[in-house]
Symmetry: C2
Subunit: 381 residues, 2 copies
């Protein structure tokens, strides 16, 4: 692992490491137990630690390594910086039949996020639609997880979150203002697995830039910009500077759309909940902690909207049609959102999650420092 990584990641999210041929396979239950054990040893509350273990393992099982075990390095750094309260109380600030606002108590985001989506689902079951926001929260893992919670009840789930660090450069700007502000939507099919869409509003994740830097490869025009706002193709400089483009990449390729999506996510997650905006903090030269991140959860009951149970069948038809589209290359069929992650999940549930030796070594040190058991290598099959 890059020796600089811990410091760099303090600026933002951890990045996927190239697990490579020497990867160590760890059963997901062991990875999860390890995450929970370390967090508990740090004084993180039980509900928060369990939720984090659930979310990080969910991400690693699906190949979204940027939101998996690798996040523990970030959490450790941020613990030292007082970025989050270990064992906060999550409180219900406000509630109506169709809406609710939670306060995350300045702790980790996973637990209040689960409570937020649970509440949205519960209200949606009664009234057909509901939205819940969470403020005073922090990193909540992969947004798709919460959207999928709604699907398990037959609902459409939509989820967005703001992010505390300035990572994405608005169109025409030469400095990062917004976070990677993800948007997720999941919807239930009948014969097919659900539609599960989860995208950051940047062109690529910071981790893709880091991976190119580790491999010494250039990155394409449109992934990242330099301090003058010009395309940066040197992956190491791009990783050091950390200024991602919004989806689209360049003005010519409609980066204003990705920028607009990022702002839309910021409004739903941050302005609607009354959380803090990383862009406003930067504008005023501030960098306050805890970060006060906001989340948005929406659930819609298709049966209540349509008056029948035909939604899942109709979504099957749409999914079938998209999958049957003539492919560019017959060896790479056309996919539907959620397909790549599902394939990874099947393989990794069976064979274990592949982790880079450097990451496993880092976690061992973390466990030793925290005074808890080390659980990864003993479990390797």
């Amino acid at each position: 692992m890059n020796e600089n990584a811990p410091q760099k990641t303090a600026k933002g999210m951890a990045a996927p490491r190239a697990a490579g041929p020497t990867a160590i396979r760890v059963p997901h239950a062991a990875a999860r137990a390890q995450i929970v054990a370390i967090l508990r040893a740090w004084g993180v509350g039980a509900a928060h630690a369990d939720a984090a273990g659930e979310l990080l393992t969910y991400a690693d099982l699906r190949g979204v390594e940027s939101h998996g075990l690798a996040m523990m390095a970030n959490y450790e750094t941020h613990k030292g910086q007082g970025s989050f309260v270990p064992a906060p109380e999550v409180t219900l600030v406000r509630e109506t039949p169709a809406l609710a606002l939670l306060d995350g108590g300045a702790g980790m985001g996973h637990h209040p996020a689960i409570r937020g989506m649970e509440l949205a689902i519960e209200k949606c079951a009664k009234i057909g639609i509901a939205a819940v926001t969470v403020r005073n929260s922090w990193h909540f893992g992969a947004a798709g997880y919460y959207a999928e919670m709604a699907v398990k009840r037959g609902f459409i789930g939509m989820v967005t979150t703001s992010v505390w660090n300035n990572a994405v450069v608005p169109t025409y700007a030469a400095e990062a203002m917004l976070g990677t502000n993800p948007i997720a939507l999941a919807a239930p099919a009948r014969r097919n697995p659900p539609f599960v869409f989860d995208m950051a509003s940047s062109t690529v994740a910071a981790g893709k830039v880091q991976l190119a830097a580790i491999l010494g490869k250039p990155i394409p025009v449109g992934w990242s910009v330099n301090e003058r706002g010009e395309p940066e193709t040197d992956s190491q400089r791009a990783w050091d500077h950390r200024a991602l483009t919004p989806l689209g990449g360049t003005p010519e390729m409609s980066s204003h759309k990705g920028y607009g999506l990022g702002a839309m996510v910021e409004i739903l997650s941050g302005t609607l909940s009354g959380a803090r905006h990383a862009a406003v903090e930067k504008h005023h030269g501030r960098n306050r902690r805890p970060f006060n991140v906001g989340h948005f959860f929406l659930a819609i009951d298709p049966a209540a909207m349509r008056g029948d149970d035909g939604f899942a069948d109709q979504l099957d038809e749409l999914i079938d049609a998209l999958r049957a589209a003539k492919p560019v290359d017959p060896r790479q069929p056309v996919l539907v959102a959620g397909d790549p992650e599902r394939a990874k999940h099947a393989e990794r549930s069976r064979d274990g999650i592949p982790y880079a030796p450097a990451l496993v070594a880092r976690v061992r040190k973390m466990a030793e420092a925290a005074g808890c058991d080390y659980m990864l290598e003993d479990e390797v099959r």
Copy 2:
């Protein structure tokens, strides 16, 4: 105007014409009256004609020419093809306190869309959030218009629509399946004008490709693909083939995100309402008319969510921060969604809407053929 244009546009949306230096300036009230007069002469119902006049003029005033007067050529073609019922009844299929489903009666989309958003706003005012879908509808103009309706009541508005023609090629596919499936979100600020975001989920509008073809210029890699799914840079061939990329443009630049957004819009607009999917029609080799397009309207009351009236003030802070971001070029400041359209609106409200002589000539013929007054040139100042 390209002589082939009417036939081409029958395949999809009209495209912006280069108005050029010989453009004729028409006061927006005259353009609107002309649109309404022609539609009425065709037998379109009064509410439908008025709504179309409102929407097309809204788009032209804001510089979104693809959704303005130029649409009349499409509407004329589709009238001949029986693509829409001129004077349908719009019916309320289902209603709950927080949801409603309208049937557009196979007519034009503008009027049922206005009714849909009005209903969502009315319900939102009582319960804090509401969603309305419309099925059996058609082209409804610029999605941002309806999102802005919510803003006038202090609410967040979100709008999506499906589209009846196959224009956008999924990642890894070699044929168009989805429509340009737009998503719009508007939110009220206090000191600043509202945030009004409205994007098609394709990298660029078909009209940008047509404009390059008219000007004889190549288009960049990532706007369009050929029948093998490879990037097409010849603008005339790209316009003939009409296969746009999803936002992102290429797999390397994360076109799967734009594709996922387009599918998300298709689900909210089409599957949730029980409308027809263009992708499913194509999959089965069908091309039925009327098209049965679906729309989705969501309104959220920030005051009901937050329990205070601080949303608009906080959005001001976010907008201020984004506008103050260091620009690449001081002559091109950083913008916020809605800014470019607002600048056009101010200028065109004052000086009239610039139309290409060929478009004006086309509309004159349309008015003559319909037996109604021609109102554009007489009003030119």
